[in-house]
Symmetry: C2
Subunit: 255 residues, 2 copies
C-alpha cells in the first residue's frame, strides 16, 4: 500500500485537482484507491459526491474515538473510495495543537487498520494549513507530492515549504520522500518557464519531469462532480495526470 500526501501551504496550487485526478488515473489503471480528505473545507468530498453528515463520518472519529479507517470508507462515482471531510475536522488542529504524539495517529491507524486489504494506493488531500491534520499526512506518507502552480508566489510557497520540511525531518528522524509537481503550466507565458527553471535549479531531480498544463477541462470537471477522465478524457489535463502516473510508476514510487 503506497501512501501519497498532497500538500503545499500555498493556497490554490492544485492540491485538490491533483488528488482527484491522480486518484482517478490510478483507479482507471485497475488499482484500488482510497482518497482521504483531510481538509475541513471538504472540497474533494464535495466533488466526489460523498457527504459527511458530521465529524463522525470523518477521520475526526479516528482521532477522538479510535474508530477504524476502513469503517469510514465510502464509494464515489469517480472510481475510488473516499473518507470524507467535514467542517468539524478543524477541531483536530485546535484541540491537539500542543500534543506531540497526535501527529503519528494517522500513520499508526493506516498501518494497524485493514485498509491495506482495500487499498493499493491512499491519496491524502490536505488543506494549506500546516497544522495537526497536515502534519499527520506528512508523517504518514511514503511520498509527498507538492503541487507548485507556475507563478512566483507559488514558487515562494514551495521554498518556504522546503524550510518547514527541513525543520520537521530531525523530529521524524528520516527524510520525507518528495516530488515537486509544476501545475497550471502555460507554455506561452515566460513566467511559467521561469518558475520551471527555478524549480529545477533549486530541487533538481525532485522535480517531476511531468508538468500539468493549464487546462480548462481540469477546472470544469469539479462542478460536474467528475474527474477529468469522465469529463474530458482526451484533454491535455487528462493526458498530463496519466503521464504523471507513468512517471511515478517508472520511479517505483508507486507499485
Amino acid at each position: 500500500m503506497t501512501i501519497i500526501a498532497i500538500y503545499n501551504q500555498k493556497g490554490g496550487v492544485g492540491k485538490t485537482t491533483t488528488s482527484l485526478n491522480l486518484a482517478a488515473a490510478l483507479a482507471k489503471s485497475g488499482r484500488n484507491v482510497v482518497c482521504i480528505d483531510l481538509d475541513p473545507q471538504a472540497q474533494l468530498s464535495d466533488i466526489a459526491g460523498v457527504t459527511a453528515e458530521s465529524g463522525n463520518d470523518t477521520v475526526l472519529s479516528m482521532f477522538e474515538r479510535n474508530r477504524s479507517l476502513h469503517e469510514l470508507l465510502r464509494k464515489s462515482a469517480s472510481g475510488f473510495q473516499v473518507i470524507p471531510a467535514h467542517g468539524s475536522l478543524s477541531k483536530v488542529d485546535v484541540l491537539h495543537a500542543k500534543n506531540y504524539n497526535v501527529v503519528n495517529r494517522l500513520k499508526a491507524s493506516l498501518r494497524g487498520d485493514r485498509l491495506g486489504d482495500n487499498a493499493d494506493v491512499v491519496i491524502i488531500d490536505c488543506s494549506p494549513m500546516i497544522g495537526v491534520l497536515s502534519l499527520n499526512a506528512l508523517f504518514a506518507c511514503d511520498l509527498l507530492l507538492i503541487p507548485i502552480a507556475a507563478d512566483h508566489l507559488s514558487m515562494k510557497g514551495g521554498i518556504k515549504l522546503e524550510k518547514t520540511l527541513k525543520a520537521l525531518e530531525p523530529i521524524l528522524k528520516r527524510r520525507i520522500d518528495r516530488r515537486y509537481l509544476l501545475t497550471r503550466f502555460d507554455s506561452r507565458r515566460r513566467m511559467g518557464w521561469e518558475v520551471l527553471h527555478l524549480l529545477e535549479e533549486k530541487f533538481g531531480r525532485e522535480v517531476c519531469s511531468t508538468s500539468i498544463a493549464e487546462s480548462v477541462s481540469l477546472a470544469e470537471s469539479p462542478a460536474l462532480h467528475m474527474s477529468v477522465y469522465q469529463h474530458a478524457p482526451t484533454s491535455r489535463g487528462a493526458q498530463d495526470y496519466e503521464d504523471l502516473l507513468r512517471e511515478l510508476e517508472t520511479l517505483k514510487l508507486i507499485r
Copy 2:
C-alpha cells in the same frame, strides 16, 4: 478611516494580489494607506519588502502585550505603510480559539489607536483560515471585499463563505457590508462567464461591476517586490484595480 478586509477561505483566489494592488492604487491617488498583514505566511510583507524579525513586529504584540498599532507601522517601497506578519502570528489562532472576546481586539485597537492620524484607508490581507485572526478582520472592517477567482471551485468557496457570514452576523448583531470581486477573469473561457453569471444571480448588487482580468503582469510584479503600478502601469491588471478603486469611491464605500 475606512477599514477594508480582504478575505475568502478558498486559497489562491487573489486576496494578496488584491490587497497589494488596491493599496497601491489608493496610495497613487494621494491617500494615506496602511496594509495590515494578517497571514502568518507573510506574503504581502515579503512583496512589500517589510520583514518582521519576530512576532513582536506584528499584531501578535497587540494581542499579547496590548502594543499600539501605530508603533508597528513600517514604510514600504510601494507607497503604503505595512504592519508585517510573521510565522509566529499563527499562535493567535491556537491560543485564543476558545476566547470569545478576542475577536474584537483588532477593532478596538484600530479605533483606540492613533492609526487614524496616519491612515485614510486600512487594508487587511487575511489567510484563508477562518480562525481568530480572520475573524478579527471581519469584525473590524467597514467593508469586506471577497475575491472570487473565475473558476468553479472558487465559486463554491464563495457560497460557503456566505453561509459562514450568515452564521457570524447574529453574533456581530449587524450585517457585514460586502462586495464580491471576480478575479483572474479570462473572457475567452466560457467558465469565466458561467462563474460571473452565477455570482450575479446569487449575490446581485453585491457583485462588483469591475472584474479583475487574468493578467500576467499581476502575477509577475510580486517577484519584483512591486505593485503592478511600478511594474506594468499600462497593463490590463493595473487598469482593473484602478477601475475597482473608482467603483468603490462611486459607491461611497471609500471616502
